[in-house]
């Protein structure tokens, strides 16, 4: 039985090697229940592989991942019904309507009062207008809202988001962020958010883990990172880390 104080996600000395490439190189972190954490890093930093190992989609080469006390991927079926995931790089069947897609996923997650849950998500995420239209005929913003509805259909305790606002216009992206913020506050869900959008991470996250070449380069609150690097925005901090200026900035402090 998981302890009450056990972290929602515990990653310990995690390594993933694809043939000769070390995509993730011995990272460790733990996320408290109800926290929201940003996972930052450039392309190839290892964010997606890390999230995939947390979801049980990829088997670690060594090290362990535990979600709500269950070791992934070995014990994944103990917790998959309490987790969910959203990414613009994963689609839902295009020919099915929004309602049909949500019904299928609701049944997979054994959601009680599924019709009521879909109706409530449709209201919250503003899907009512197009809920009976084929998912493939929606705009990028509408598709993101549908993907978010799928990710929330089972009221997850752990939510993994991979660039949830990529390719959205600023207005829709802001709307999605506001909804995520509200959802986390109301439900106390643990969120791990991989993003390239620094403003998004700054606004939503209480903790930021910065990855580079498969390793954790830094891990702190956004405020402390700004102070430690002597910068005004997370984007500047990110660039310092990406270009190897982190140590120099800290030494100058």
């Amino acid at each position: 039985m998981p302890q009450a104080a056990e972290p929602a996600i515990a990653v310990d000395q995690l390594v993933k090697v694809y043939k000769t490439t070390r995509a993730v190189d011995g990272i460790s972190f733990a996320l408290e229940r109800g926290s929201i954490t940003g996972l930052l890093g450039g392309n190839g930093a290892g964010k997606t592989t890390t999230i995939a190992m947390i979801m049980g989609l990829v088997m670690p080469t060594s090290g362990t991942v535990k979600v709500l006390g269950a070791e992934m991927p070995r014990q994944r079926y103990q917790v998959l019904h309490k987790m969910n995931f959203e990414s613009p790089y994963v689609d839902m069947p295009h020919r099915l309507t929004v309602r049909q897609n949500l019904t299928v996923f609701g049944l997979l997650y054994a959601v009680e009062d599924l019709k009521g849950r879909i109706a409530s998500l449709a209201r919250e995420l503003d899907l009512v207008e197009f809920i009976d239209r084929p998912t493939g005929k929606l705009s990028a913003g509408q598709k993101t809202r549908v993907a978010l509805a799928k990710a929330l259909i089972n009221s997850p305790q752990v939510l993994l988001l991979d660039e949830p606002t990529a390719s959205l216009d600023p207005d829709t992206a802001d709307w999605v962020r506001a909804h995520l913020e509200r959802f986390r506050k109301e439900r106390g869900v643990t969120v791990l958010l991989a993003s390239h959008n620094m403003a998004e991470v700054e606004r939503l996250c209480e903790r930021v883990i910065i990855m580079k070449r498969g390793r954790i380069e830094d891990d702190d609150t956004p405020q402390r990172l700004l102070i430690r690097y002597g910068r005004e925005t997370l984007e500047e901090v990110f660039l310092d880390v990406a270009r190897g200026r982190g140590e120099a900035s800290e030494a100058a402090q």
Binding site: T49, V58, P93
Partner: protein, 273 residues
């Protein structure tokens, strides 16, 4: 909702039902998919049926063997379309980039396989039932007249088709869409060896050994014995069933191993080429 346990494997009917519903929604939304299910079996039947009519008019042997080609066409389609129905439903997930969503859901691999088997039956029924009536209308051949033997033929052919479909799906999981052509072509390897249109005795001795290792060979031999000699070869059906049980179990083990390998190499993340 309760999930009965089959050995160490949990099987939840509501998750199997969810996947079947997903494929039924898809079929309902796409008349081209529905048409395709009937189109090829109907074309096959008409070509082979008229060929048999022509030969029968010019040969005493074929006149006696009336219906054997048509029955072979229908049985071959059960085998081929059964596998295709399984594999195409699986491919739909890859085409729609939905596989990751399913793999992170509570859906178990065995439930996914069960849903694909049910869809294979549904797709087969949509395609084949009208074609069997075409066979009655055009050629006076009533496949349902084969009685209980038809059930034995069907069970054995569908089990083989699922065993092949399961392995093909595992290879697709492991190797991505680059292996898509296997779904369309693998069954044709069996066609000459399973002796669909001719008796096993036609093959060279060494090839007969391979032919008898394939369950469909027993079905096609049994079908010819029934139609041409009016003999029910229950022994052949039992032997086919034993072989099928072995191949089906081997297919499931291969699928689970390929899925495990896909998790190891990260191919569940990239389901493209």
């Amino acid at each position: 909702m309760s999930a009965p346990s089959i050995g160490a494997v949990t099987l939840a009917p509501h998750r199997v039902g969810a996947m079947v519903l997903r494929y039924l929604y898809l079929l309902r939304s796409s008349w081209t998919r529905l048409l395709e299910l009937i189109y090829w079996p109907a074309v096959q039947l008409l070509v082979w049926g008229f060929l048999q009519l022509y030969i029968a008019q010019n040969s005493g042997f074929f006149a006696r063997a009336s219906g054997v080609f048509i029955a072979a066409v229908l049985m071959w389609d059960v085998l081929f379309r059964g596998q295709l129905g399984f594999s195409v439903s699986f491919l739909e997930e890859m085409w729609s980039r939905n596989l990751s969503n399913l793999m992170i859901s509570p859906l178990r691999p065995i439930e996914f396989v069960c849903a694909l088997m049910i869809m294979s039956l549904i797709r087969l029924a949509i395609g084949m039932v009208p074609v069997t009536f075409l066979a009655i209308a055009f050629f006076g051949f009533n496949v349902y007249g084969l009685g209980l033997a038809l059930a034995a033929f069907f069970v054995n052919l569908i089990l083989t088709s699922w065993a092949v479909g399961i392995v093909v799906s595992g290879v697709l999981l492991r190797n991505g869409m680059g292996a898509e052509s296997l779904a369309w072509t693998l069954m044709f390897v069996l066609m000459p060896l399973a002796c669909v249109y001719y008796p096993v005795s036609v093959l060279p001795d060494w090839l007969q050994v391979i032919a008898w290792a394939l369950p469909p060979t027993y079905v096609f031999e049994g079908m010819r014995a029934l139609i041409m000699e009016h003999v029910v070869r229950a022994d052949l059906m039992v032997e086919a069933f034993v072989l099928n049980a072995f191949y089906f179990a081997a297919g499931v083990v291969a699928f689970l191993q390929l899925l495990k390998s896909a998790r190891r190499v990260g191919s569940l993340l990239q389901t493209g080429e």
